[in-house]
Protein backbone atom coordinates (compact mmCIF):
# COMPACT_ATOMS: atom_id res chain seq x y z
CA UNK A 1 0.00 0.00 0.00
CA UNK A 2 1.23 3.41 -0.73
CA UNK A 3 0.64 6.46 1.37
CA UNK A 4 0.41 9.39 -0.90
CA UNK A 5 1.84 11.79 1.58
CA UNK A 6 4.98 9.79 1.93
CA UNK A 7 5.73 9.64 -1.73
CA UNK A 8 8.76 11.52 -2.75
CA UNK A 9 7.83 14.07 -5.27
CA UNK A 10 10.12 16.32 -7.12
CA UNK A 11 8.27 19.55 -7.73
CA UNK A 12 10.79 20.60 -10.30
CA UNK A 13 10.71 17.39 -12.25
CA UNK A 14 8.96 18.91 -15.21
CA UNK A 15 11.16 21.97 -15.18
CA UNK A 16 14.01 20.20 -16.79
CA UNK A 17 17.48 21.54 -16.56
CA UNK A 18 16.78 25.20 -16.21
CA UNK A 19 20.33 26.33 -16.13
CA UNK A 20 21.37 23.98 -18.87
CA UNK A 21 18.96 25.49 -21.32
CA UNK A 22 20.43 28.93 -21.16
CA UNK A 23 23.68 28.62 -22.91
CA UNK A 24 25.68 31.35 -21.30
CA UNK A 25 25.50 30.43 -17.67
CA UNK A 26 28.92 30.54 -16.16
CA UNK A 27 30.65 31.24 -19.39
CA UNK A 28 32.42 34.34 -20.48
CA UNK A 29 32.42 33.53 -24.12
CA UNK A 30 29.81 35.93 -25.27
CA UNK A 31 31.74 39.02 -24.35
CA UNK A 32 34.30 40.75 -26.46
CA UNK A 33 36.93 42.04 -24.10
CA UNK A 34 39.07 44.96 -25.07
CA UNK A 35 41.99 45.44 -22.76
CA UNK A 36 44.99 47.63 -22.53
CA UNK A 37 48.45 46.90 -21.29
CA UNK A 38 51.31 49.21 -20.57
CA UNK A 39 54.60 48.78 -22.23
CA UNK A 40 57.71 50.85 -22.02
CA UNK A 41 57.16 54.50 -21.36
CA UNK A 42 54.06 55.86 -22.99
CA UNK A 43 53.56 52.86 -25.14
CA UNK A 44 50.60 50.60 -24.81
CA UNK A 45 49.13 47.51 -26.30
CA UNK A 46 45.48 46.84 -26.93
CA UNK A 47 44.14 43.32 -26.96
CA UNK A 48 40.84 42.14 -28.30
CA UNK A 49 39.69 38.84 -26.95
CA UNK A 50 36.61 36.76 -27.44
CA UNK A 51 35.72 37.59 -30.99
CA UNK A 52 32.76 35.51 -32.13
CA UNK A 53 33.56 32.67 -34.47
CA UNK A 54 31.67 34.10 -37.37
CA UNK A 55 34.14 36.92 -37.77
CA UNK A 56 37.40 36.35 -39.49
CA UNK A 57 40.03 37.59 -37.10
CA UNK A 58 42.62 37.88 -39.80
CA UNK A 59 40.50 40.08 -41.97
CA UNK A 60 39.40 42.13 -39.02
CA UNK A 61 42.99 42.66 -38.03
CA UNK A 62 43.78 43.88 -41.48
CA UNK A 63 40.92 46.31 -41.35
CA UNK A 64 41.98 47.50 -37.92
CA UNK A 65 45.50 48.09 -39.03
CA UNK A 66 44.40 50.09 -41.99
CA UNK A 67 41.75 52.04 -40.16
CA UNK A 68 43.70 52.90 -37.04
CA UNK A 69 47.04 53.21 -38.76
CA UNK A 70 48.79 50.95 -36.33
CA UNK A 71 50.46 47.64 -36.45
CA UNK A 72 49.04 44.55 -34.93
CA UNK A 73 49.19 40.83 -34.78
CA UNK A 74 47.08 37.80 -34.23
CA UNK A 75 48.03 35.74 -31.22
CA UNK A 76 46.89 32.20 -30.67
CA UNK A 77 46.16 31.55 -27.04
CA UNK A 78 45.29 28.07 -25.87
CA UNK A 79 42.68 29.36 -23.43
CA UNK A 80 41.25 32.39 -25.13
CA UNK A 81 41.62 31.37 -28.73
CA UNK A 82 42.58 34.01 -31.20
CA UNK A 83 43.48 37.35 -29.74
CA UNK A 84 44.11 40.46 -31.75
CA UNK A 85 46.90 42.66 -30.49
CA UNK A 86 47.25 46.21 -31.64
CA UNK A 87 49.86 48.79 -30.90
CA UNK A 88 48.74 51.78 -28.95
CA UNK A 89 45.54 52.52 -27.16
CA UNK A 90 42.86 51.60 -29.67
CA UNK A 91 40.15 50.65 -27.22
CA UNK A 92 37.60 53.29 -28.08
CA UNK A 93 38.34 53.05 -31.76
CA UNK A 94 37.86 49.31 -31.69
CA UNK A 95 34.61 49.50 -29.87
CA UNK A 96 33.34 52.16 -32.22
CA UNK A 97 34.45 50.16 -35.21
CA UNK A 98 32.77 47.02 -33.97
CA UNK A 99 29.54 48.72 -33.13
CA UNK A 100 29.44 50.35 -36.50
CA UNK A 101 29.89 46.94 -38.05
CA UNK A 102 26.83 45.75 -36.26
CA UNK A 103 28.15 44.01 -33.20
CA UNK A 104 25.86 44.89 -30.32
CA UNK A 105 27.48 47.20 -27.90
CA UNK A 106 26.26 45.14 -24.98
CA UNK A 107 28.66 42.38 -25.86
CA UNK A 108 31.71 44.62 -25.91
CA UNK A 109 33.50 45.21 -22.68
CA UNK A 110 36.19 47.81 -22.50
CA UNK A 111 38.62 47.33 -19.66
CA UNK A 112 41.48 49.36 -18.43
CA UNK A 113 42.02 52.66 -16.76
Amino acid sequence: MSVQNLNTFDPFADEGDVLGSTKDVGSQQNYIHIRIQQRNGRKTLTTLQGLPKEYDAKKLLKAFKKEFACNGTLVEDEEMGQVIQLQGDQRLKISNFLTEEGIPKATIKVHGF
Binding site: T22, D24, V25, G26, S27, Q28, N30, Y31, H33, R35, I36, Q37, Q38, R39, G41, R42, T44, L45, T47, Q49, V75, D77, E79, M80, V83, Q85, G88, D89, R91, L92, S95, P104, K105, A106, T107, I108, K109, V110, H111, G112, F113
Partner: protein, 363 residues
Protein backbone atom coordinates in the same frame (compact mmCIF):
# COMPACT_ATOMS: atom_id res chain seq x y z
CA UNK B 1 60.46 60.95 -23.37
CA UNK B 2 60.11 62.87 -20.17
CA UNK B 3 60.33 60.06 -17.79
CA UNK B 4 59.90 61.74 -14.44
CA UNK B 5 56.56 63.18 -15.28
CA UNK B 6 53.34 61.28 -14.95
CA UNK B 7 52.82 61.61 -18.60
CA UNK B 8 51.38 58.32 -19.37
CA UNK B 9 47.85 58.74 -20.37
CA UNK B 10 46.97 56.57 -23.25
CA UNK B 11 43.31 57.17 -23.11
CA UNK B 12 43.57 60.91 -23.46
CA UNK B 13 40.68 61.41 -21.22
CA UNK B 14 40.50 64.51 -19.21
CA UNK B 15 38.64 65.22 -16.10
CA UNK B 16 37.26 68.59 -15.41
CA UNK B 17 39.79 70.45 -13.35
CA UNK B 18 37.03 71.57 -11.08
CA UNK B 19 36.17 68.19 -9.81
CA UNK B 20 38.51 67.83 -6.95
CA UNK B 21 36.55 65.70 -4.64
CA UNK B 22 36.49 62.19 -5.71
CA UNK B 23 32.92 61.56 -5.05
CA UNK B 24 32.19 58.05 -5.94
CA UNK B 25 28.61 58.73 -6.41
CA UNK B 26 26.40 55.77 -6.51
CA UNK B 27 25.83 56.43 -10.12
CA UNK B 28 27.53 59.22 -11.92
CA UNK B 29 24.45 60.00 -13.87
CA UNK B 30 21.82 59.64 -11.29
CA UNK B 31 23.62 61.87 -8.91
CA UNK B 32 23.42 64.79 -11.22
CA UNK B 33 19.88 64.01 -11.77
CA UNK B 34 18.69 65.88 -14.70
CA UNK B 35 15.17 64.81 -15.23
CA UNK B 36 15.55 64.93 -18.96
CA UNK B 37 18.41 62.53 -19.16
CA UNK B 38 16.91 59.12 -19.46
CA UNK B 39 17.84 56.11 -17.48
CA UNK B 40 19.90 57.17 -14.56
CA UNK B 41 21.06 53.76 -13.62
CA UNK B 42 24.30 51.96 -13.79
CA UNK B 43 22.73 48.84 -12.65
CA UNK B 44 24.00 45.74 -14.20
CA UNK B 45 22.22 42.72 -13.11
CA UNK B 46 24.48 40.21 -14.52
CA UNK B 47 27.68 38.61 -13.62
CA UNK B 48 30.69 38.66 -15.83
CA UNK B 49 29.54 35.44 -17.28
CA UNK B 50 26.55 37.12 -18.68
CA UNK B 51 24.30 35.37 -16.29
CA UNK B 52 21.64 37.74 -15.31
CA UNK B 53 20.75 38.06 -11.72
CA UNK B 54 17.18 38.88 -11.23
CA UNK B 55 16.84 41.52 -8.65
CA UNK B 56 13.22 42.20 -8.85
CA UNK B 57 12.09 45.60 -7.91
CA UNK B 58 15.09 47.64 -8.51
CA UNK B 59 14.18 50.75 -10.34
CA UNK B 60 10.60 51.53 -10.54
CA UNK B 61 11.43 54.95 -9.22
CA UNK B 62 13.62 55.55 -12.13
CA UNK B 63 11.10 54.21 -14.46
CA UNK B 64 8.60 56.62 -13.19
CA UNK B 65 11.07 59.41 -13.37
CA UNK B 66 11.62 58.60 -16.96
CA UNK B 67 8.02 58.41 -17.69
CA UNK B 68 7.53 61.81 -16.28
CA UNK B 69 10.42 63.12 -18.25
CA UNK B 70 9.24 61.66 -21.47
CA UNK B 71 5.71 62.69 -20.80
CA UNK B 72 6.49 66.35 -20.55
CA UNK B 73 9.17 66.29 -23.16
CA UNK B 74 9.20 64.38 -26.35
CA UNK B 75 8.11 60.80 -26.27
CA UNK B 76 10.95 58.43 -26.52
CA UNK B 77 10.61 55.92 -29.20
CA UNK B 78 11.65 52.50 -28.09
CA UNK B 79 14.65 52.35 -30.32
CA UNK B 80 16.01 55.59 -29.00
CA UNK B 81 17.98 54.02 -26.26
CA UNK B 82 19.54 51.47 -28.45
CA UNK B 83 21.64 53.52 -30.67
CA UNK B 84 20.18 56.90 -31.27
CA UNK B 85 23.29 58.93 -31.63
CA UNK B 86 21.53 62.19 -31.36
CA UNK B 87 20.37 61.39 -27.95
CA UNK B 88 23.80 60.48 -26.85
CA UNK B 89 25.29 63.64 -28.18
CA UNK B 90 22.80 65.66 -26.31
CA UNK B 91 23.62 63.86 -23.17
CA UNK B 92 27.29 64.45 -23.59
CA UNK B 93 26.81 68.11 -23.75
CA UNK B 94 24.64 68.20 -20.74
CA UNK B 95 26.93 66.37 -18.48
CA UNK B 96 29.64 68.91 -17.79
CA UNK B 97 27.04 71.47 -16.93
CA UNK B 98 25.44 69.05 -14.58
CA UNK B 99 28.68 68.43 -12.89
CA UNK B 100 29.10 72.11 -12.36
CA UNK B 101 25.70 72.47 -10.90
CA UNK B 102 26.26 69.55 -8.73
CA UNK B 103 29.51 70.86 -7.43
CA UNK B 104 27.98 74.19 -6.73
CA UNK B 105 24.97 72.97 -4.91
CA UNK B 106 26.83 69.99 -3.50
CA UNK B 107 24.45 69.25 -0.74
CA UNK B 108 26.42 67.07 1.53
CA UNK B 109 29.63 66.49 -0.28
CA UNK B 110 32.48 66.80 2.10
CA UNK B 111 35.56 68.23 0.51
CA UNK B 112 38.19 65.64 0.81
CA UNK B 113 40.88 66.98 -1.35
CA UNK B 114 44.34 65.86 -0.70
CA UNK B 115 46.69 68.65 -1.65
CA UNK B 116 48.91 66.29 -3.48
CA UNK B 117 45.95 65.13 -5.42
CA UNK B 118 45.07 68.52 -6.70
CA UNK B 119 48.58 69.15 -7.78
CA UNK B 120 48.54 66.00 -9.68
CA UNK B 121 45.37 66.83 -11.46
CA UNK B 122 46.35 70.36 -12.30
CA UNK B 123 49.59 69.26 -13.62
CA UNK B 124 48.16 66.77 -15.95
CA UNK B 125 45.67 69.29 -17.11
CA UNK B 126 48.37 71.71 -18.03
CA UNK B 127 50.07 69.06 -19.98
CA UNK B 128 46.92 68.26 -21.80
CA UNK B 129 46.11 71.78 -22.70
CA UNK B 130 49.19 72.01 -24.75
CA UNK B 131 48.46 68.96 -26.66
CA UNK B 132 44.96 67.93 -27.30
CA UNK B 133 42.08 69.97 -28.39
CA UNK B 134 40.70 70.98 -25.09
CA UNK B 135 37.02 70.74 -25.53
CA UNK B 136 36.95 67.34 -26.96
CA UNK B 137 39.03 65.85 -24.25
CA UNK B 138 36.83 67.39 -21.65
CA UNK B 139 33.85 65.64 -23.01
CA UNK B 140 35.66 62.47 -23.66
CA UNK B 141 35.59 61.08 -20.19
CA UNK B 142 31.98 61.76 -19.81
CA UNK B 143 31.29 60.23 -23.11
CA UNK B 144 33.22 57.21 -22.13
CA UNK B 145 31.38 56.83 -18.90
CA UNK B 146 28.18 57.25 -20.77
CA UNK B 147 29.11 54.54 -23.09
CA UNK B 148 30.00 52.28 -20.27
CA UNK B 149 26.68 52.79 -18.76
CA UNK B 150 24.76 52.56 -21.89
CA UNK B 151 26.56 49.37 -22.47
CA UNK B 152 25.66 47.99 -19.14
CA UNK B 153 22.10 49.03 -19.60
CA UNK B 154 21.84 47.27 -22.83
CA UNK B 155 23.37 44.24 -21.37
CA UNK B 156 20.66 44.26 -18.85
CA UNK B 157 18.09 44.39 -21.51
CA UNK B 158 19.47 41.59 -23.54
CA UNK B 159 20.13 39.27 -20.71
CA UNK B 160 16.84 39.80 -19.08
CA UNK B 161 15.05 39.38 -22.31
CA UNK B 162 16.53 35.98 -22.71
CA UNK B 163 15.79 34.63 -19.37
CA UNK B 164 12.96 36.29 -17.66
CA UNK B 165 9.28 35.83 -17.63
CA UNK B 166 6.95 38.11 -19.43
CA UNK B 167 6.07 40.81 -17.03
CA UNK B 168 9.52 40.92 -15.62
CA UNK B 169 10.76 41.47 -19.07
CA UNK B 170 8.49 44.38 -19.45
CA UNK B 171 9.60 45.91 -16.23
CA UNK B 172 13.20 45.52 -17.03
CA UNK B 173 13.01 46.95 -20.44
CA UNK B 174 11.14 49.89 -19.27
CA UNK B 175 13.60 50.70 -16.60
CA UNK B 176 16.31 50.59 -19.15
CA UNK B 177 14.99 53.76 -20.51
CA UNK B 178 12.58 52.53 -23.05
CA UNK B 179 9.08 53.57 -23.28
CA UNK B 180 7.27 51.42 -20.83
CA UNK B 181 4.46 50.83 -23.14
CA UNK B 182 6.48 49.83 -26.09
CA UNK B 183 5.17 46.32 -25.91
CA UNK B 184 1.57 46.93 -25.23
CA UNK B 185 -0.46 48.04 -28.15
CA UNK B 186 -3.01 50.07 -26.32
CA UNK B 187 -0.78 52.55 -24.64
CA UNK B 188 -2.01 54.51 -21.68
CA UNK B 189 0.00 57.67 -21.83
CA UNK B 190 -0.77 59.53 -18.67
CA UNK B 191 -0.13 58.45 -15.16
CA UNK B 192 -2.89 60.44 -13.62
CA UNK B 193 -5.17 58.54 -11.40
CA UNK B 194 -8.66 58.25 -12.73
CA UNK B 195 -8.00 58.07 -16.42
CA UNK B 196 -6.49 54.64 -16.64
CA UNK B 197 -7.08 52.97 -19.92
CA UNK B 198 -8.99 50.04 -18.61
CA UNK B 199 -11.73 52.25 -17.24
CA UNK B 200 -12.94 53.14 -20.68
CA UNK B 201 -12.76 49.71 -22.17
CA UNK B 202 -14.12 46.53 -20.72
CA UNK B 203 -10.83 44.72 -20.83
CA UNK B 204 -8.95 43.81 -17.71
CA UNK B 205 -6.03 45.80 -16.44
CA UNK B 206 -2.61 44.40 -17.02
CA UNK B 207 0.13 43.97 -14.50
CA UNK B 208 2.07 46.79 -16.07
CA UNK B 209 -0.77 49.21 -15.73
CA UNK B 210 -1.40 48.32 -12.16
CA UNK B 211 2.25 48.78 -11.41
CA UNK B 212 2.18 52.15 -13.04
CA UNK B 213 -0.84 53.08 -11.07
CA UNK B 214 0.75 51.99 -7.85
CA UNK B 215 3.83 54.03 -8.41
CA UNK B 216 1.89 57.00 -9.61
CA UNK B 217 -0.10 57.10 -6.43
CA UNK B 218 2.95 56.33 -4.36
CA UNK B 219 4.80 59.26 -5.79
CA UNK B 220 1.78 61.47 -5.63
CA UNK B 221 1.65 60.99 -1.90
CA UNK B 222 5.41 60.95 -1.43
CA UNK B 223 6.91 63.46 -3.80
CA UNK B 224 10.19 63.28 -1.95
CA UNK B 225 10.84 59.89 -3.44
CA UNK B 226 11.25 61.26 -6.91
CA UNK B 227 13.51 64.12 -6.07
CA UNK B 228 15.84 62.41 -3.68
CA UNK B 229 18.83 61.23 -5.60
CA UNK B 230 20.30 59.40 -2.69
CA UNK B 231 23.39 60.11 -0.75
CA UNK B 232 26.61 60.51 -2.54
CA UNK B 233 29.27 58.07 -1.71
CA UNK B 234 32.48 59.80 -0.98
CA UNK B 235 35.83 58.19 -0.71
CA UNK B 236 39.18 59.79 -0.33
CA UNK B 237 40.94 60.01 -3.66
CA UNK B 238 43.62 57.43 -4.21
CA UNK B 239 46.95 58.96 -3.45
CA UNK B 240 49.71 57.82 -5.70
CA UNK B 241 53.43 58.14 -5.44
CA UNK B 242 56.02 57.16 -7.96
CA UNK B 243 58.65 54.71 -7.01
CA UNK B 244 61.52 55.02 -9.36
CA UNK B 245 60.58 55.18 -12.96
CA UNK B 246 58.32 52.26 -13.55
CA UNK B 247 56.34 51.67 -10.41
CA UNK B 248 53.49 53.46 -8.79
CA UNK B 249 52.69 53.24 -5.11
CA UNK B 250 49.10 53.36 -4.07
CA UNK B 251 49.49 54.61 -0.54
CA UNK B 252 46.03 54.76 0.92
CA UNK B 253 44.61 51.55 -0.38
CA UNK B 254 44.00 50.14 3.08
CA UNK B 255 42.07 53.23 4.00
CA UNK B 256 39.96 53.01 0.89
CA UNK B 257 39.34 49.33 1.38
CA UNK B 258 38.24 49.97 4.92
CA UNK B 259 35.80 52.58 3.76
CA UNK B 260 34.38 50.23 1.19
CA UNK B 261 34.30 47.34 3.65
CA UNK B 262 36.21 45.18 1.25
CA UNK B 263 39.19 42.95 1.63
CA UNK B 264 42.28 44.61 0.17
CA UNK B 265 43.09 41.36 -1.62
CA UNK B 266 39.88 41.51 -3.56
CA UNK B 267 40.35 45.14 -4.52
CA UNK B 268 43.94 44.52 -5.49
CA UNK B 269 42.98 41.58 -7.61
CA UNK B 270 40.44 43.67 -9.42
CA UNK B 271 42.87 46.53 -9.93
CA UNK B 272 45.49 44.27 -11.37
CA UNK B 273 43.22 42.42 -13.68
CA UNK B 274 41.59 45.58 -14.91
CA UNK B 275 44.79 47.48 -15.47
CA UNK B 276 46.57 44.49 -16.92
CA UNK B 277 49.53 44.71 -14.64
CA UNK B 278 51.02 43.18 -11.54
CA UNK B 279 52.43 44.39 -8.28
CA UNK B 280 52.80 43.68 -4.63
CA UNK B 281 51.99 44.97 -1.20
CA UNK B 282 54.85 46.45 0.74
CA UNK B 283 55.53 46.46 4.46
CA UNK B 284 53.31 49.39 5.31
CA UNK B 285 50.33 47.98 3.52
CA UNK B 286 50.85 50.10 0.46
CA UNK B 287 50.33 48.71 -2.96
CA UNK B 288 53.17 48.80 -5.42
CA UNK B 289 51.86 48.69 -8.95
CA UNK B 290 54.03 48.01 -11.91
CA UNK B 291 53.68 50.68 -14.52
CA UNK B 292 52.94 54.35 -14.43
CA UNK B 293 49.50 55.38 -13.47
CA UNK B 294 47.90 58.64 -12.70
CA UNK B 295 45.47 59.34 -9.99
CA UNK B 296 42.53 59.82 -12.26
CA UNK B 297 43.18 56.58 -14.03
CA UNK B 298 43.08 54.74 -10.78
CA UNK B 299 40.00 56.66 -9.83
CA UNK B 300 38.25 55.36 -12.88
CA UNK B 301 39.14 51.81 -12.07
CA UNK B 302 38.06 52.22 -8.48
CA UNK B 303 34.83 53.74 -9.59
CA UNK B 304 34.16 50.73 -11.70
CA UNK B 305 34.99 48.50 -8.78
CA UNK B 306 32.51 50.31 -6.62
CA UNK B 307 29.78 50.09 -9.18
CA UNK B 308 30.43 46.44 -9.66
CA UNK B 309 31.27 45.17 -6.21
CA UNK B 310 30.17 47.71 -3.64
CA UNK B 311 26.86 49.24 -4.57
CA UNK B 312 23.77 47.24 -3.94
CA UNK B 313 22.01 46.89 -7.23
CA UNK B 314 18.64 46.81 -5.62
CA UNK B 315 18.69 49.83 -3.37
CA UNK B 316 21.99 51.38 -4.44
CA UNK B 317 23.23 51.50 -0.94
CA UNK B 318 26.92 51.17 -0.30
CA UNK B 319 26.41 49.35 2.92
CA UNK B 320 27.16 45.91 1.60
CA UNK B 321 29.17 42.92 2.63
CA UNK B 322 31.07 40.60 0.37
CA UNK B 323 31.29 37.00 1.47
CA UNK B 324 32.66 33.97 -0.21
CA UNK B 325 30.71 30.76 -0.33
CA UNK B 326 31.78 27.77 -2.35
CA UNK B 327 34.22 29.80 -4.39
CA UNK B 328 31.55 32.27 -5.34
CA UNK B 329 31.40 35.76 -3.98
CA UNK B 330 28.08 36.95 -2.71
CA UNK B 331 27.22 40.50 -1.92
CA UNK B 332 24.74 41.06 0.85
CA UNK B 333 23.17 44.43 1.31
CA UNK B 334 23.03 45.59 4.87
CA UNK B 335 20.27 48.08 4.33
CA UNK B 336 17.80 46.20 2.19
CA UNK B 337 18.92 42.65 2.78
CA UNK B 338 19.19 41.65 -0.84
CA UNK B 339 21.80 39.15 -1.81
CA UNK B 340 23.36 38.47 -5.12
CA UNK B 341 26.40 36.87 -6.56
CA UNK B 342 29.03 39.06 -8.12
CA UNK B 343 31.29 38.46 -11.05
CA UNK B 344 34.41 36.56 -10.42
CA UNK B 345 37.45 38.61 -11.29
CA UNK B 346 39.09 37.28 -14.37
CA UNK B 347 42.25 38.54 -15.81
CA UNK B 348 41.82 37.39 -19.35
CA UNK B 349 44.46 37.43 -21.97
CA UNK B 350 47.77 38.94 -21.02
CA UNK B 351 50.00 39.85 -23.87
CA UNK B 352 53.68 39.29 -23.79
CA UNK B 353 55.27 42.52 -22.65
CA UNK B 354 58.93 42.98 -22.00
CA UNK B 355 61.67 40.55 -22.54
CA UNK B 356 60.84 36.97 -23.18
CA UNK B 357 63.96 35.82 -21.45
CA UNK B 358 62.79 37.42 -18.24
CA UNK B 359 59.38 35.83 -18.28
CA UNK B 360 60.93 32.51 -19.08
CA UNK B 361 63.23 32.81 -16.13
CA UNK B 362 60.33 33.60 -13.87
CA UNK B 363 58.47 30.44 -14.72
Amino acid sequence: MASEEPLFDPSLKKKKPKKKTVAFSEDPLGADADPTTPAPDVIEDRTVDGESVDMGSKTMHEQLKQNDASADGEEEDPSAMFGDLKKKKKKKKEIPLDLDGDEGSGTSTPITTAPAATEDLDFSDLKKKKKSSKKKAAFDLDAFEKELQAESKKEDGDEEAEQDGEHLLNVDESELGENVFANTTEAPTGLDAGNEAWLKSDRDYTYQELLQRFYASLHASNPALLTSTGKRYVIVPPSLAREGNKKTIFTNITDICRRMHRQPEHVIQFLFSEMGTTGSVDGQGRLVIKGRFQQKQLENVLRRYIVEYVTCKTCKSFDTLLTKENRIFFMTCESCGSRRSVNPIKTGFQAQVGKRSKTKAAQ
